[in-house]
């Protein structure tokens, strides 16, 4: 860029700073999500990795059971016998070996309620004042015998306990009282990162936590000067089969890595927000530059007349976009840091206790934000820039010659082709399955983008007639508008520049198309899920851990329920990981004698009771995939390496609750020594027992398991549906952002055209139009544009939603629903959107001084 072009560019941006302000805002929001995603993940990961590094500082070596397949970090391993500790201690070079034991244990607060934590609630074995696991005593002393406990300081405070108080704790086997003899901390912190930690001495822990002389793993420190590799080799030789030796660092890395994966999910959600908001922003940017170019027609033509080349004009407009994008990107990166900080603060307020981290802005964050912010902005400005470069110089004197009248046909053809390609790609993506799910997803996303672009381009053709129709048919409350002068003006203005109306509406269209698509799919999934639940749940009671508690129920609960005379059938639902013919699957374990009465799995062949004879049941889909029938055998490899040939005892049609694979409880117990917990427990009332009496009996047992929640059939169904709804709320949140940007877009366009029509408004005011009427006409125009965009969105979105619904597996979707309510809400909301977007521009127009307005050239 040469100096004069650069000068023109900079001056151009400064002169139009208010006109591009909203554009900058839109880009900022997109970039903020990108940089926020990276800053958040980088910062939180760093601090979590630091915490784990601190925790494992003292651990040179760890011994644990090996797994046959799957992810080392998240596997539910079998425990290690405490006898191994002695074996390891005897080895040369081992200074200290300690059993690491960690089980679910809930603290009961001083008011009798269970302590709710954002993280898990743990009971652990305290391994001494110089323990290897980085835990410290911050007050009092460690628990030294039966009846003693320490709590982490933050949980003790929240539960209302001080050293010396008696604390009730619920363990896997039941509850007990302990004297609080001290407060513990982890590393440098005094909380467990959102978890509650109750520490007992190893013997008490073994008993109370029901560990049966097992520990989760063994932490080992070596003598000073000892060769770690040699010690590890020596330990490896001495260990019984099924155990493995790893370094402390590797163990810490694995654990941190598993948590990092979770944090990446947050990051990816934010990147999703970024993608949607940038796509919508691109329309806004395009629109702004297109309008600015047409407003500067004379100036640009004059430049051409005095000798600016087409390339210089192009460079200038793109340069302006570049300046805008650089400013927006810088602000966006800053805003992203705010986003990251905000999210950490929100989670911490909810009790997550993210270690306080300083924000990390890595080079990657800056590069990605810049590429995205600058790339999107400049790309969106290319078409307006090309159009600007085509302005003939003669337009300096004859502005009416400015833009070669649009080739309507060309636009129609291009729009149709783009729409067509988009539709084809989308269909292939949704219905075909080339190269697995990620390829499929990418293809449908690309298809949808092309489809949106195509429709956006086609919509120019219908913008004028559609605006006319909308201004006629909008319902009664607005009817008088259509006859009044402001009403007529507003509607004419919407028709006057169809291209602008269309591209403004397009931004809203995309947001609302996505909303309609999602709402069709979501309501169908919801309706189907409800239908399936109703058809399959026959249990009278369900017990599960309350919401937000990811730990399972202690297995003692179901054992106690089985003893109740008020109940005729009780079965827990447990889960395990195994490989079936080499594919990793989640397998449910239930009590065969009871499960059939609790859940109707729509058995096609075989019997549910066969589960108790060590057989396996499976859904018809995997049965088809593996080509098995009742009586055939499947090879099952359990996580700990045990391999079994299991006979198929039945095939069922309804997987809503059971999942695809079921085995008997006894099968699972015989294989694995991992501490079991239950997802939920189902129970059926015995004949002749009153439902209220049964519930009283169940709740009496539940008193000993404070985190458990007892639900009857209706409550259970409701809670299952609620879970699904929560997921949907996140998706809708994402889409609301895109709509917010579209509102910005409409406001922006209105503001720009108010500016452009300064003279016209002055004239209207001069001949006697009131400020109020002027505002009304602007508002009416915005409403027409918004309703046009919303209608397009709905017209595009609903078929897309129906297509997705059809493509989903039939086990998932049994009914298809078009959510009429949502659609009506969208339409009403779009009217509000129009009114809101017009507030600023209308106020501005009304503030114009009549004389100034007329004398502006």
């Amino acid at each position: 860029m040469t100096a004069p072009v650069a000068r023109l560019t900079i001056r151009g941006v400064i002169a139009r700073k208010w006109r591009i302000f909203l554009t900058i805002l839109a880009v900022v929001s997109g970039v903020a999500f990108v940089s926020g995603a990276f800053v958040l993940t980088d910062s939180v990961k760093k601090s979590i990795n630091d915490v784990f590094a601190t925790l494992s500082e003292g651990i040179d070596i760890e011994v644990r059971t090996s797994i046959a397949f799957g992810d080392e970090a998240t596997a539910e391993r079998d425990p290690v016998s405490i006898d191994v500790i002695d074996v390891v201690t005897a080895i040369d070079g081992v200074r200290l070996a300690e059993g690491n034991l960690l089980r679910a244990a809930t603290v009961i607060k001083s008011d009798g309620e269970p302590l709710r934590t954002s993280g898990p609630a743990f009971g652990i074995a305290w391994v001494g004042p110089d323990g290897l696991d980085g835990r410290t005593i911050v007050e009092g002393r460690p628990a030294a015998g039966p009846g003693e406990v320490t709590l982490d300081k933050s949980s003790a405070r929240r539960a209302g306990y001080e050293v010396g108080d008696t604390v009730t704790i619920v363990g896997p086997a039941g509850k007990d009282d302990f004297v609080l003899v001290g407060l513990n901390g982890t590393g440098k912190t005094t909380n467990g990162g959102g978890a509650s930690i109750a520490a007992f001495d190893p013997v008490t822990a073994n008993e109370f936590l029901g560990a049966e002389n097992m520990v989760d793993s063994i932490y080992i420190a070596i003598d000073e000067g000892a060769d770690r590799d040699a010690v590890m080799a020596a330990i490896d030789v001495a260990l019984p089969d099924g155990l493995q030796v790893i370094t402390g660092e590797q163990s810490a890395e694995e654990t941190a890595g598993a948590i990092n994966d979770i944090i990446d999910i947050f990051g990816n959600v934010l990147l999703g927000f970024a993608a949607v908001s940038l796509f919508v922003s691109a329309f806004l940017i395009f629109n702004t530059f297109a309008i600015i170019v047409s407003q500067r027609l004379r100036e640009l033509a004059l430049l051409r007349a005095v000798g600016a080349s087409a390339r210089q004009i192009r460079t200038m407009i793109i340069g302006e976009a570049l300046v805008v994008s650089v400013i927006a990107t810088l602000l966006g990166i800053l805003a992203g840091m705010g986003v990251a900080k905000g999210i950490v603060a929100i989670f911490n307020a909810a009790g997550a206790a993210f270690p306080s981290a300083s924000l990390i802005v890595s080079p990657r964050t800056i590069v990605a934000s810049t590429v995205v912010g600058v790339g999107v902005t400049v790309a969106a400005a290319i078409v307006p820039a090309l159009r600007a470069a085509r302005i003939p110089p003669v337009a300096a004197m004859r502005p009416e010659l400015g833009f070669n009248s649009l080739q309507k046909n060309k636009r129609l053809v291009v729009g149709s082709i783009t729409t067509g390609i988009g539709l084809v790609l989308f269909s292939i993506g949704v219905f075909g399955q080339p190269g697995g799910t990620s390829g499929t997803l990418g293809l449908s996303a690309l298809g949808a983008i092309l489809l949106f672009l195509g429709i956006a381009s086609l919509s120019t053709t219908v913008a004028a007639p559609a605006s006319r129709v909308i201004s006629r048919v909008l319902p009664l409350p607005f009817r008088p508008m259509t006859r009044s002068v402001p009403g007529r003006l507003g509607s004419r203005n919407a028709q006057r520049t169809p291209r602008r109306t269309a591209s403004t509406a397009s931004a809203l269209m995309i947001g609302l198309a996505l909303v309609s698509t999602v709402s069709v799919v979501a309501s169908s999934v919801q309706a189907s899920f409800k239908e399936q639940l109703q058809g399959s749940v026959t249990a009278d009671f369900f017990v599960s851990n309350g919401p937000g508690n990811f730990q399972g129920l202690p297995i003692a609960f179901s054992e106690r329920l089985s003893e109740l005379p008020e109940l005729s059938a009780v079965s827990p639902f447990r889960a395990a990981t195994a490989q079936v013919n080499g594919d990793t699957k989640q397998i449910g374990a239930v009590r065969g004698s009871a499960f059939g009465q609790l859940v109707d799995i729509d058995l096609a062949s075989g019997s549910v009771e066969s589960l108790d004879d060590g057989k396996i049941l499976l859904h018809r889909d995997p049965a088809r995939d593996y080509a098995v029938q009742v009586g055939d055998t499947l090879s099952i490899l359990w996580l700990n390496g045990t391999e079994q040939q299991i006979e198929v005892g039945g095939i069922y049609d309804d997987a809503t609750i059971a999942g695809n694979w079921l085995v008997g409880l006894s099968t699972l117990q015989a294989v694995s020594t991992a501490t079991p917990t239950d997802f939920f427990i189902g129970a059926k009332i015995a004949d002749g027992v009153d439902i209220e009496d049964a519930r009283t009996a169940v709740e009496a047992v539940a008193l000993d398991f404070p985190s458990a929640e007892v639900q009857d059939q209706a409550e259970f169904q409701q809670s299952q549906e609620d879970q699904l709804n929560q997921l949907l709320i996140i998706i809708y949140g994402l889409l609301i952002i895109s709509i917010a940007i579209a509102v910005l877009g409409i406001a922006n366009t209105m503001a720009l055209s108010v500016f452009e029509r300064t003279r016209e408004f002055g004239l209207l005011r001069a001949v006697g139009m009131s400020k109020r009427d002027l505002k009304r006409s602007i508002r009416w125009e915005a409403v027409i544009v918004a309703v046009f965009g919303a209608s397009l969105g709905i017209i595009v979105g609903i078929p897309l939603g129906l297509a997705v619904t059809t493509a989903l597996p039939s086990t998932f979707i049994t009914t298809t629903v078009v959510p009429v309510n949502t659609i009506i809400i969208i339409l009403i909301a779009s009217i509000i959107v129009g009114v809101v977007a017009a507030i600023g521009p209308a106020r501005r127009a009304a503030k114009l001084n009549v004389l100034d307005a007329i004398s502006t050239h």
Binding site: P4, A15, L302, A305, V306, S309, A396
Partner: protein, 245 residues
């Protein structure tokens, strides 16, 4: 002496036709004309007679339906957009009736704009001469919005002169000005031709303005119908009456 009499620009058999068939408008209907170097020529004629059209075509801002335009030795029809741009930049200057200046640039920046766009080094002495001649020294750092209409027009004249073009076209440059300011601009244009050796073609409706020129060409319905050398205002008025406008 020979170089003085060469043509700075010319049109041969120029036709400019808008619309088709019934709605056809012949804005230029076979115009052949040459403009001598270092002369001040005025173009007059009734409204709609094709004056602006002729000028736009001569200046390479617009293209002919048929016929040819030459600037210096170059036939404009043979140039592509890029070459046309270069020709305008270095061989042609403009003064319009209004909207002459880029609002975001200062007076001086507007004056040197054609040079800057071409990356041509600024001949400071010449710029000083021009600036002093139009009397804008004290206003050079002002934006157009801070200048009066007359001052804006003077900046436009200075810009037209800045690159020492072969020819300057001015379309009613005084149309928006009061008579005192108009006189100022016309005197200066005269000065630019006589003393600075520039070539100017000016469209005007005003016989007094035309009297500053060396020669007046009369246009009616897209054709040249008359011309007059060394005009006075009275002569011009006389001819106009005769042409019935």
């Amino acid at each position: 002496m020979t170089s003085l009499s060469t043509a700075a620009a010319g049109a041969i058999d120029a036709f400019k036709i808008y619309g088709k068939d019934d709605s056809e408008v012949r804005a230029l209907d076979g115009v052949t004309v040459t403009f001598a170097s270092e002369k001040f020529t005025a173009i007059m004629g009734p409204s709609g007679s094709g004056k602006s059209t002729l000028m736009h075509c001569l200046a390479g801002l617009d293209s002919l339906t048929s016929g040819s335009i030459t600037i210096g030795d170059t036939n404009l029809a043979t140039l592509n957009d890029k070459e046309l741009t270069l020709t305008r930049r270095s061989n042609v200057g403009f003064i319009f009736q209004a909207y002459n200046l880029i609002p975001t640039l200062t007076a001086l920046e507007n004056i040197t704009l054609p040079l800057d766009l071409g990356g041509t080094p600024v001949d400071q002495q010449w710029i000083d001469t021009v600036v002093d001649a139009v009397g804008l020294r004290s206003r050079l750092n002002h934006r157009p919005s801070e200048l009066s209409g007359g001052q804006q027009q003077r900046v436009a004249v200075a810009r037209a002169l800045a690159s020492k073009p072969r020819i300057i076209f001015a379309d009613e440059p005084t149309g928006n000005l009061d008579s005192r300011m108009g006189t100022e601009i016309l005197t200066f244009m005269r000065h630019a031709v006589t003393d600075l050796g520039q070539t100017i073609v000016m469209v005007t409706h005003d016989p007094v303005a035309a009297s500053y020129a060396d020669r007046v060409i009369f246009l009616a319905d897209g054709k040249i119908v008359d011309e007059l050398d060394n005009p006075t205002a009275d002569h011009v008025l006389d001819r106009m009456k005769r042409l019935g406008s």
